[in-house]
Symmetry: C2
Subunit: 317 residues, 2 copies
């Protein structure tokens, strides 16, 4: 089968990769669509030291499973695989299991391939009304929803998202479902057009008023975005970090202490609510698709996704 | 009068400084004791760009006040002066008022002088059972107690304080009052002796186990301390920052996102509970006094306080 593989030699499209063997309790899944995420681009740059098949945003069709009722079903899958025995797994779930692997990110081959495997426990059926392209957004939409699990957001809160990228625009939509007013801030006016078209308040980050927002979500992953986000949050307000920072950013953290800011790191979220929001059309994702490539053109797809301002690039077999 | 004054020319002991005039609603206070805090040392290095009389930890005697009943009383005073009209002041208090001044830190002369002034609204009488030297610890003890206002700390939480300095040792004691097990971590074995003598678990920060603590309090104010503290906190745990960082520390913040750490900045706290804890002897402060200097020797006192491992240095008129 074909697979987009990261190794010490770099990124390559491998044509004769062996089809993965599902382990105990796992399904063999045929890829329908996958999505390129900023984390994939960071992995290529060396983040986590990952080697293997990339890809963690996908929708596929179950080809093999011990439980026949799964075969032929269209599924998405959560990406963390824990030991299922430790206090962390039994408590909050596999996301923070010290023994975990993560699909296409850490110690587990991912979804940029004709086939992948995942435990049945990780799979969720996709409702008929949700297209393949839409279903690919389940994972990042769940990550956006994670904020709603972590934070109490009031309908009267002043909310800002810094970074109008593929994740930032999902976060803005999820925050808006609180009834709150959401401002989307970016570095370039062009990057704000989609958000403005959806009716969000938008503005250039450099011009935004300091100490104004109850909650600021950092979705750029760069030091300048972190600095801006910290500047915008009001004293006693909350700064949520949704993007990992590839380098150690030298940022003045004085305001965190002096203004008693609450900084919340936020990663993977719940899939079932994400699928419900997609099915009920509460979140717009079609407009986020920038391009679709065949798996054969996977390297071009990733290069395209790495260009500034490009939203979601999809892969299909 | 004498005053330890910071100006563009540096730090000096001024002998002919004018006695301050209390404004409307303010008291004139004669100094009994003051304490040197790490913030004072940072101010000397240029933090906040402050110019004026230093000092914000003090106990004094009221010499003049519109309300006679205050005259002659021994008092401590909260250090933030807000506008008392804005939503911040009317809501959470003056600590985050955008118009605020802060005694000896920001736009307001402080307590390292024979006399100082503060609004009566900022003053609290000191109970008879609390000595002058003990009363000086009201302000930093209140800052430690701020953590108990901000965080729900369970008696079964694993708690760590990184930095066994003058503030860290107060924080450790306040955390221990939750019934929880507190580990005090430092860079040098000698710095841990006092904490160990009080029965705390102690250890070298470099040897401490990663991902172990539910709550880690950073009380060093340097980048290495921040890095250690972040390393020690468990996934989904809390990192409290109690010290400001003079420089912008280049620290890898990836763990905040990946392990979904909650980072809480923490500054000034409530005085009345601090006085109660001092009066009831729930917190030991006498052993924290490293030296006492006369105001005349104020510059020597500050140099002494700046030496590594030195705890609280007091000033008396």
């Amino acid at each position: 089968m074909r697979a987009i593989q990261l190794s010490s030699e770099g990124l390559c499209l491998r044509r004769g990769a062996p089809r993965p063997e599902p382990g105990q309790g796992e399904a063999l899944i045929r890829l329908l669509r996958a999505g390129v995420c900023s984390t994939d681009l960071e992995l290529v740059k060396g983040y986590m030291g990952f080697e293997g098949v990339l890809g963690h945003e996908f929708v596929g069709s179950v080809e093999e499973a011990e439980d026949d009722s799964w075969v032929g079903r269209r599924v998405v899958g959560t990406i963390n695989l824990g030991c299922r025995r430790c206090a962390v797994c039994l408590g909050s779930g596999p996301e923070h299991c010290p023994q975990r692997s993560v699909l296409g990110i850490y110690r587990r081959d991912g979804a940029f391939a004709d086939y992948l495997t995942l435990p049945l426990a990780n799979l969720l059926p996709v409702p008929d009304g949700v297209s393949d392209a839409q279903a690919v957004f389940t994972e990042p939409l769940a990550a956006a929803l994670r904020l709603r699990q972590q934070l109490r957001i009031s309908p009267t809160d002043r909310l800002a998202v810094v970074g109008p990228g593929r994740l930032g625009l999902l976060i803005a939509q999820v925050l808006a479902l609180s009834g709150g007013n959401v401002t989307v801030l970016g570095r370039r006016a062009e990057s704000l057009e989609l958000a403005a078209g959806w009716g969000f308040d938008t503005g250039l980050a450099a011009d935004a008023e300091s100490d104004r927002y109850d909650l600021v979500v950092e979705a750029t992953g760069n030091a300048a975005g972190l600095e801006t986000s910290l500047r915008l949050v009001r004293p006693l307000g909350t700064l949520a970090l949704k993007s990992t920072f590839a380098a150690a950013p030298a940022v003045d953290l004085t305001k965190i202490v002096v203004a008693e800011i609450n900084v919340v790191g936020s990663r993977c979220g719940p899939f079932a609510p994400a699928l419900r929001l997609l099915e009920r059309r509460h979140v717009e994702v079609d407009a986020l698709v920038a391009a679709e490539y065949e798996l054969e053109e996977g390297l071009e797809a990733m290069a395209h996704a790495a260009r500034p301002g490009v939203l979601k690039v999809l892969l299909r077999p």
